[in-house]
Subunit: 302 residues, 2 copies
């Protein structure tokens, strides 16, 4: 697939160091979503678009960086980058609902059910999940790769992935015995890890090559990401993170920090990022943006 | 694709008159869903399976009947039949939530949020939507047809289809001016029609043939179906329909019955079924099961 393809001059992801590459990727993914929502009238389209704005765009970036690693042009992978950001936005809307985490604030703005109402929040999330599958199936690649991308996305999003992890997380809140470290690792592999690993694998799936190194990279990165989220829940402040903090400790919830302590949690995250990097060794210098992204994950304050 | 294929003897859908064919189809679709959920432990898988049991299975039947019309064996189309039933079940769980229709009863059983809780209901619906896309992508047909099936399903399920229709329905409840007939038709084409039309088209998409006649058949059938639902909301009782009745009238909501009157609404549904039949004329006797299904839609009391 790669050989005969003519790369358009100036792929927007090329030649950019990490923070700029992340910003460029966020713009690409957001443009994909807005192109599908902006022409549509009504509150639902508006609420869906609202929920997709203002995030870091890390998952969409991972898709595009994974694509560039395999010489897939950004414009080909762009619908897949938009898809994962739409799916992530849906999960945040539903996680914030009163019957779940009951959050008023997300990315520094009122959550969808606070700005509109609960019905709008449920439906905006539902429609964003449908949109995510529509978008991922519009990725410019052979039909077989599209089927694989969408199948893996469905598996990562559902019962054995993100939603299953969220359900386990809620169950843990009312459980009498706090979770063990292994249980938290398994829970987070679903809740946060599955979408991150899908994102890192996406470029290899589009290009039709073995995705094992990127899967391993994603698994380490996803876990490091979640450990760092737990660190930020203790050390961060709401103004910077754009969401409520200190909630886990207040709820007496077992987290990586409560189980390991702050310093050991940070060290564990660093070790995971080092391991993540090692899985991309065969890609050499070409993987630098992804490696910078992994380092960013454990340096961010938001 | 059709020529070289060896049909297994005794396709379970063949030679059955309508009510038996509907029952057989329901079993096939349910088996597809349960095969994916039963091996999994936990409340979430349990709630998902619970929500998929006990329906009429009309949409899954339409998929399998549409497949048989094009000589696609039922076992090939079965994952698509399971997918549409899973998607339908997700929509019912979310529609029943307190922030939406706030129903306690569905298919004669407690709704998911009554049997468990709201968080479980939101997540079971979310995971059933993911499962629906996973299943439809496992339909045994060429990759191009799988992509088309899933793309059309995403379009039918989302903002421009089912979820958009549900949002318009909720908005209508608080609107100062009741909807006009044209507005109700547009709303229902999304809320109920889109999934029904997807189901009638599915066999043609799997077989890779023109789906225009089945699309027209589905559009008429979907509208007739919704008109009959409005009729049942007035004439039915909760014990038979397995859900609350008389809610629309109590809410002062514009329906086909409130706008047309009971007799004219019934006549309109009959006309639509006649028109639906006419679109399948070219298929001759082979379309009899689908035609019987259309007649069933305006004869049912549940």
């Amino acid at each position: 697939m790669r050989e005969g393809m003519c790369l358009p001059p100036g792929d927007p992801m090329d030649g950019l160091a990490f923070p700029a590459a992340l910003a460029a990727a966020r713009e690409i993914a957001e443009a994909q979503i807005m192109a599908r929502l902006s022409p549509l009238p009504g509150t639902l389209a508006q609420a869906m678009a609202y929920a997709c704005r203002g995030g870091k765009g890390l998952r969409g970036f991972l898709v595009l960086a994974s694509a560039r690693l395999h010489d897939v042009p950004s414009h080909q992978a762009a619908p897949a980058a938009g898809a994962i950001e739409a799916l992530h936005a849906y999960s945040l809307i539903h996680d914030d609902l009163p019957c779940m985490d009951d959050d008023d604030l997300r990315r520094g703005q009122p959550t969808v059910h606070r700005k509109w109402d609960e019905a709008t929040a449920v439906l905006a999330g539902d429609a964003l999940q449908s949109l995510a599958f529509e978008m991922v199936l519009q990725t410019a690649c052979p039909d077989g790769a599209r089927v694989e991308l969408a199948l893996q996305l469905a598996a990562a999003a559902g019962l054995r992935g993100m939603v299953g992890g969220q359900m386990a997380d809620i169950a843990a809140e009312t459980a009498e015995v706090p979770l063990t470290l292994d249980q938290i690792i398994a829970l987070q592999a679903g809740k946060t890890g599955a979408l991150i690993t899908w994102s890192t694998r996406a470029g290899a799936i589009i290009a039709g090559v073995d995705d094992t190194p990127l899967r391993r990279f994603g698994d380490c990165l996803g876990l490091a990401f979640q450990i760092w989220d737990d660190v930020l829940d203790v050390t961060g402040d709401a103004a910077t993170t754009g969401k409520a903090v200190g909630k886990d400790a207040a709820a007496g919830k077992a987290t990586f920090v409560s189980l390991l302590g702050l310093d050991a949690a940070r060290a564990r995250a660093r070790d995971l990022v080092n391991e993540a990097e090692s899985h991309l060794a065969a890609y050499g210098q070409k993987a630098q943006t992804l490696i910078d992204a992994a380092r960013f994950v454990i340096a961010r304050d938001t």
